[in-house]
């Protein structure tokens, strides 16, 4: 077994551990922290079912963002849908046999790869072109875009420029999951792609990517507008 295989196997175990444990800790922290007051933002539904529907629109369609700014919505929404399709396409590396749904996503996943790159370019351009967004951008905002763009570009490069042995890659991934390690092809583009993915997984719980679990815990979005009908009480607030 090559040093590269050992290195990448270790890298993915570590990245997965950081991602899962880090997210679990963050989610537990959010869940444990009380929301002592009712602060939903209008238009707030009056029932729990209404809240679920609002949340679904928020995470699937980015409703609030659509109302705020059509350009950010276009790039942001396109990016997330593309990312979802790309991730769906990649599921085939982690299952044998491959599910029917995953097979259906295969051709879309390719287009989505381009859409992902294009929308990332749009989001990135805003950080340079729009003065207000240039002002609020930090190095880490740029780095996050670089990371995602690097992942998308290296992924597409393996499809169109320098192909890799994907059968071996799949064997490597299945081997990781079964703790039965298989050799990883030492193609530079693949190694870059995987290293960037591992980096993304590792920074997830310590970065702004926490917006993903965070939105579900946001009191302005997940509370029902029923303060007069239902008395809302949390522990510390009753002392």
């Amino acid at each position: 077994m090559s040093a590269i295989t050992i290195l990448y196997a270790a890298l993915f175990y570590a990245a997965t551990a950081v991602l899962v444990a880090g997210l679990a800790l963050k989610i537990a922290q959010y869940a444990r922290t009380p929301a002592p007051l009712k602060i939903p933002t209008t238009p707030a539904p009056a029932t729990r079912a209404g809240v679920a529907w609002r949340m679904l629109r928020e995470v699937a369609l980015f409703e609030s963002l659509f109302r705020a700014n059509k350009w950010i919505w276009l790039f942001g929404w396109a990016f997330h849908v593309a990312l979802a399709l790309v991730l769906a396409r990649h599921l085939r590396y982690f299952q044998e046999p491959v599910w029917g749904v995953v097979e259906i996503t295969q051709p879309f996943g390719i287009y989505a790869g381009f859409a992902m790159l294009a929308s990332l370019a749009g989001l990135w351009a805003r950080r340079f072109v729009v003065e207000r967004i240039r002002y609020i951008s930090t190095y880490s905002d740029h780095l996050m875009l670089a990371l995602l763009a690097g992942i998308a570009a290296s992924g597409l490069a393996m499809k169109y420029v320098s192909r890799t042995d994907i059968v071996a890659v799949k064997a490597f991934m299945l081997g990781l999951m079964a703790f039965d390690w298989q050799p990883l092809p030492a193609d530079p583009v693949l190694l870059v792609h995987l290293a960037l993915v591992a980096a993304l997984m590792a920074v997830f719980p310590a970065s702004k990517l926490l917006h993903a679990p965070g939105v579900f815990f946001s009191p302005t979005r997940n509370q029902a507008d029923d303060p007069r009908e239902r008395r809302h009480v949390t522990a510390w607030a009753q002392e």
Partner: protein
Amino acid sequence: MATAELQAPALREYPVIPILARDAMAGSKPFVASDKINEAIGFPGKLVENWREKAIGKMGELLDKYRGLRVFLDACVHCGACTDKCHYFLGTGDPKNMPVARQDLFRKVYRRYFTLAGKLVPRLVGAEDLTEEVLDDWYKYFNQCSECRRCSVYCPYGIDTAEITMAAKEVMDSIGMGQKYTNEIIGKVHKIGNNLGLPGPALRNTLETLAEEVKEDTGIDVRFPVDEKGAEVLVVTPSADFFAEPHVFSLVGYAKVFHAAGIRWTMSSHASEAGNFGLFIGSYDQMKRIALRVREAALELGVKRIVVGECGHAWRVAYSFWNTLIGPFDFLDPRYPAPQHICELTWDLVQRGAIAFDREKNDARVVTFHDSCNVARGSGMGGIPRGQFIIPREIIRAACNHFHDMAPETIHEHTFCCGGGGGLLTDELLELRVKGALPRMEALKRVVDEHGVNFMATICAICKAQFSKVLPYYQFDMGMVGGVHQLVGDAIRLGRND
């Protein structure tokens, strides 16, 4: 920064997002509270020795107490959706008045002391130590947020800058950096019973005079009762309603509604204030103590209903928080919402035919309605979706023949703050208040030009006071602003009981 030659920004036909004007408002800050004011409400008198440690400690405490704060500080992706949503940014161009930039003043300190990335690579993630300069920025720019929550409507994660502003104010209060205007008023509420510091006897006197004036006007004995045990309804209203113009005209309106409907009501000298500035400084404890006066008054007077007058933030506190803070209201009549807004009460009476209007009495007025932020984005009315937008407008239509809404992107939940909310209604912040009113003034100008609007109704004491002061800077008549119940009072049919 109130200077004699303060100029309002020009009203534009097509408002555009301003280019950044760095530090444009770096000179704007309210007076710091004196030690006497701070100590009276339990805060350190002046900046404490170890303020940095204290502040970080307080931040940690708040992070454990408020899920919203924790999530909001973590979740922002700097997408920029909020950057053009704040009226203070639109009016001043100061980039630190962009909601995300304002949040980042707090977030960068959170990152530095409470996140791994901020501890390891502060420069990379925009984390910063809490220095004197940072604290100074906090004091300036968290006192340039009216906690109107407009940005929160547009944020894809619902990040509410008001919650962060409140947390920052709470941290500052805990180290002796309290703001004079809000903290002085909180002291007055506890000591005297209302924000304006009007003692019981003076209150009774004022209301007697008011009753005489109404009698002169209408020939009818409309009552303004105080501390009447056994009344059905306790009305809690902002103390400005007792004598300031145009507020007092709304109080006359409420009184006429009760008179015409034959409902026995009373005000309370113990709880002679609906306003609750505890909200503005983010203090749960203060908010609860201030609200408790209302429960005590209701129990002592034995009323069956509690009705809140025209006050925006008071209605948010009453509608959204009272049940939590001072509930349950099992001692009140369950057939009515507890608490109830005066507009809910009036609209209910209109629908049941218990009161009626001679609309032509308002014919000289062409009316528009300014949605107050706390009502629009932080409360409801009537138990129906969007009731807080529908009900006040329906009342106006019932009482007036001429009504025109302002542009849709400036009303309802998109409404612009008057520029004076959140504890900023103080003279030393006049420049901020005038500039912050720009988006509302531009929307108003359009309906003035297109429809000849000459009256802007609103249901908030702060809006009324702020507009009265600011309208003249934009060449409008200060008398253009008034309450919804001012319109009600001028057109309602009295004499039903005669």
